[in-house]
Symmetry: D2
Subunit: 350 residues, 4 copies
Amino acid sequence: MAKKIKIGVLGASGYTGSDLVRLAARHPNIEITLLTANSHAGKPMGKVFPHLAMLDLPDLTTIDDADWSSVDAVFCGLPHGTTQKITSQIFQKYDHVKIIDMSADFRLRDPQGYQNWYGLEHSAPEIQKQAVYGLTEHYREEIKLARLIACPGCYPTATLMALLPLAQAGLINVEELIIDAKSGVSGAGRGLKELALFCEAGEGMSPYGVGYHRHMAELEQEIGKASGQEILVNFTPHLVPMSRGELVTAHVKMSDGKTVDDIRGELEARYKDEPFIHVLEEGTLASTQKIRGSNHVVISINADRIPGRAIIITALDNLVKGSAGQALQNFNLAFGLDETLGLEQLPLFP
Amino acid sequence: MAKKIKIGVLGASGYTGSDLVRLAARHPNIEITLLTANSHAGKPMGKVFPHLAMLDLPDLTTIDDADWSSVDAVFCGLPHGTTQKITSQIFQKYDHVKIIDMSADFRLRDPQGYQNWYGLEHSAPEIQKQAVYGLTEHYREEIKLARLIACPGCYPTATLMALLPLAQAGLINVEELIIDAKSGVSGAGRGLKELALFCEAGEGMSPYGVGYHRHMAELEQEIGKASGQEILVNFTPHLVPMSRGELVTAHVKMSDGKTVDDIRGELEARYKDEPFIHVLEEGTLASTQKIRGSNHVVISINADRIPGRAIIITALDNLVKGSAGQALQNFNLAFGLDETLGLEQLPLFP
Amino acid sequence: MAKKIKIGVLGASGYTGSDLVRLAARHPNIEITLLTANSHAGKPMGKVFPHLAMLDLPDLTTIDDADWSSVDAVFCGLPHGTTQKITSQIFQKYDHVKIIDMSADFRLRDPQGYQNWYGLEHSAPEIQKQAVYGLTEHYREEIKLARLIACPGCYPTATLMALLPLAQAGLINVEELIIDAKSGVSGAGRGLKELALFCEAGEGMSPYGVGYHRHMAELEQEIGKASGQEILVNFTPHLVPMSRGELVTAHVKMSDGKTVDDIRGELEARYKDEPFIHVLEEGTLASTQKIRGSNHVVISINADRIPGRAIIITALDNLVKGSAGQALQNFNLAFGLDETLGLEQLPLFP
Amino acid sequence: MAKKIKIGVLGASGYTGSDLVRLAARHPNIEITLLTANSHAGKPMGKVFPHLAMLDLPDLTTIDDADWSSVDAVFCGLPHGTTQKITSQIFQKYDHVKIIDMSADFRLRDPQGYQNWYGLEHSAPEIQKQAVYGLTEHYREEIKLARLIACPGCYPTATLMALLPLAQAGLINVEELIIDAKSGVSGAGRGLKELALFCEAGEGMSPYGVGYHRHMAELEQEIGKASGQEILVNFTPHLVPMSRGELVTAHVKMSDGKTVDDIRGELEARYKDEPFIHVLEEGTLASTQKIRGSNHVVISINADRIPGRAIIITALDNLVKGSAGQALQNFNLAFGLDETLGLEQLPLFP
């Protein structure tokens, strides 16, 4: 067996961190040697996430106690802001370590944009320049060479997977993108918030972040770049009473003369060899039930009743392809491995 | 105490019928004297809906065995198609009976439209002409005089409550209405369908009826009438893992020069004296948790990030204001009673 | 109309407090004049519980700012420990005020028992002596005369409603009571706890408090008193992914020669005139779906496969009959009103 | 790579069948060559279970059209009754085929018992004699040699895993076993039943089969055999609003002089080398969240407040270790493979 790649997971007490551990633990080339969680330092992982108690894992430690020289790659699941500081240190002192960041800290190419959306000055703008936006299927070659991979947000992953090729191909009018999004509650993280209580989020549906949500910045950056123009998007997220899963319903106006068939043709061509991206046949709709727990993405393309418009619906698991799974996929790329390693798990239904 | 009005409920074994019974049983002026459910005829209501077992109700009977001369009003919760036949008979033979129809059979003024959308010829076009569209807050005077009230669908009730005044006032561009809607599973009824199983609908979210849903017909009829032009709408419903509740996110382009404040001003003025319609203050979002189990509707108005656009979100309980509650409200109007009788129940949260 | 009774609700920002407000707001003889919630003082109730925003309620205030002279009754939904101090002050200074306590502070007649189970010395043992245990159907006459009513816990209400008459009649062996209980998540309150997060409590079932739960103390006190002997009980609660509702499955050994019919006879006789307690007919099982949101209790009696044993299952809504509803029922008794006032609401299903 | 073992799955349109496919598709030594589902014959599996659409699978066929000569093993997920007929034919005509039955048809050693519990005469009593009860950890040697493996029911698997060693060791009184069980809705199958609708099973909890449930027969058979005496058990199942997962709370009286430590010692010794069975440390409780989607079982042992009694709680995933996972584990044994192949998947949480 090949020598294993040693990884550390920073922020292992969050849902993103634990899902990374779940997947990495079954990856044939990975050895998990470091798990950090400042507030739980000293505990075994199985105490913090009992569903992982059957694994033989290192105990949780603080970031300060971490031995970076012993790891080949670091997956970072820390809150935004915190990440920059840690990443800078590792990046500058440990040339051999690749960093796969699942936080928001290096997603925006423009440090000023970061400051505008996240409310604090970017503390590592030099490193930002070397970060690659980790939307795997669209930045594969860059990711292979990167030392710092900034994995996209869950909503941007779902949205861009559908819309980026269409913007690039000039099939849609990018000036009036209506992106109505729905997410399970795990998107709110494991931190204690009233809105994430079972009794608050259960048996009901509520919008949030209407008119202003940080994921807009990524969408505008990437679609803007693809279409060659500055744009603003409507992005309207809603909280759904389910733990995992994300559904993005994009209501788009097609470019003059373009049709739903053109959209279908473009997406099918773009993704025909992708192991995780599935353009559904006509009449089949995307739903989160089709991909729960897996790294797969389903996209459905539908004619709107209003002529010249289309409805494109994408579903993914926010913790897998929307976070830890895509991070692992990027890790595979960065280390020259088969891209699907550790991600073979099929969706869990029901 | 005033003499009670005797009512019958047709289709009492469905969720709409049972919710009507739940509300009517506590109405001070109502006596429930007839309950029909062909497939359960002969059974006590408490066997079919055990949560109503504490009530003293007539046993379920077939429609054929119903004694129409003994009732003053009939609430009809039958499947579409069936309703027309029954309604015709009652309408023509029993002048004194008022009919409050919760089915789809008399909602479309144009019988041809009915045939187009429902796939069968309208069998009672003469009676259709006398039907009033029962969107209470918008057809109050007509409802007071009506013998046949066609209560709107749940989605149209939620959507029109927000958009009808705006279309009437010329504040929005009705040619590109994007109506992204979300409903709890009770909207699928109590009939046995795979998609409504707990294991299929739970822990996941799925769109349905994309590009073609019968409620489009009502929306286009009413908004078209309000704006004086024929329109087509985007109406995209989704199934949410909750039993009750409906959220409609309307993405609208405002008319030239109009602002979110204009929209707010119009809706606030329109609904300021309405007991059940609440325009939420700026920054407060509508959610189904705020109205579950009640006849209340909440509407929130939000600026879109794209200039010139607004996001208007409406929530109601699909079985109450979306069906049985609005039916009872219309009954109150038709019989000259206080409109809120039987509908005082507050939302149940959590 | 009769002069209204003025009430205050202490701890109005919890689920128990808000459900009391929901019910009391529709009570014909009640005027809510005081709402306290220290951490939310100054806010309107509708900001803390948006589902009550349509009510005209006093703003939340601190307990220190409360004017006790202006209220006739106080409903107390504070955490245990806190309650004693407040209650003492009111009890001693305001003779006219009746106190209906929904906390645990005065449920145990023996202050030493309180100290043992709650871990702190009882600070108002003199007042404890005047408290009446508010299990309405079993302490009605005492409640009518009481100034301080200690409403039972939710689990004890469900359990005792089934077992107390049987213990009194000597039909069951009280030495080996196995009480397997299941509750919705609202039982954990609105405070921020990881176990109450949607992602933790959803799509799963977990026991808690196995072998040691404070409600055991009430069960042992009341069943012990009824049977005339000191007892210990098995009480094993579980957390169920639903917001409301409680199901108690009591596995009992019958006294020698006694049968399931004896049990049925006793419970039917005991509750035949009770408006809220329903002994289900043979073959019909209790479930929380039958009583959600209401003050009703359903009890089903079943033969066990093991001869000489029975399985008695009780369901109620933990926030209504298990807390706020029973409190309001006791209020009605204490003020000489019809016991069902404000509690007419039928179960909400689905 | 080793030659693959060809398998067929009968009844592939049920939840048990589809979960077998989910697991088997990732088994390194399996090739799925036959999928039957009479009502869906001719369809691709991905149409019936869209979450498996990314797999390359044979289309569904009828049982009559199946080519048994092409398979090495058959997993049978048919309704009881049907299975016997099919199994007899395969068993008698195709010596080389091993049958792993997930139905109830061969679980009861006594054909008369089958008739008593299932209401129809056993049609293959001769074959029944050769069936091995497939509770893997307890019949491992027999399973290795078997041609027909009758996998236990989900509830018996959970219950026996905890109680069988204790009955064998004489640590518990088997005459008064109180087994209070809770299951997710997938246990009701994918067939259309009103009780399994989202609106009926959601936001509520209900017992079923109280006093009479077919899984009692297996429990009494196995515990009776282990203890050397005929017994009757209390087995009381409840339906919980979650899709997957099963929790069994066994309330047991210990044999004279035995303690909770004895129980712990016995179970720890019995399972210390088992990859899927985990005896939790003192103070840690079993919950379905800890094992969802995986083949793992967690068992917690707790002292009861009543002296001499213990509360033993077991959790598993009813579709995996309770059905398809255990079947695959038995397949591995029967074909001389590593027992954990295809079952490495970790629990999915949240």
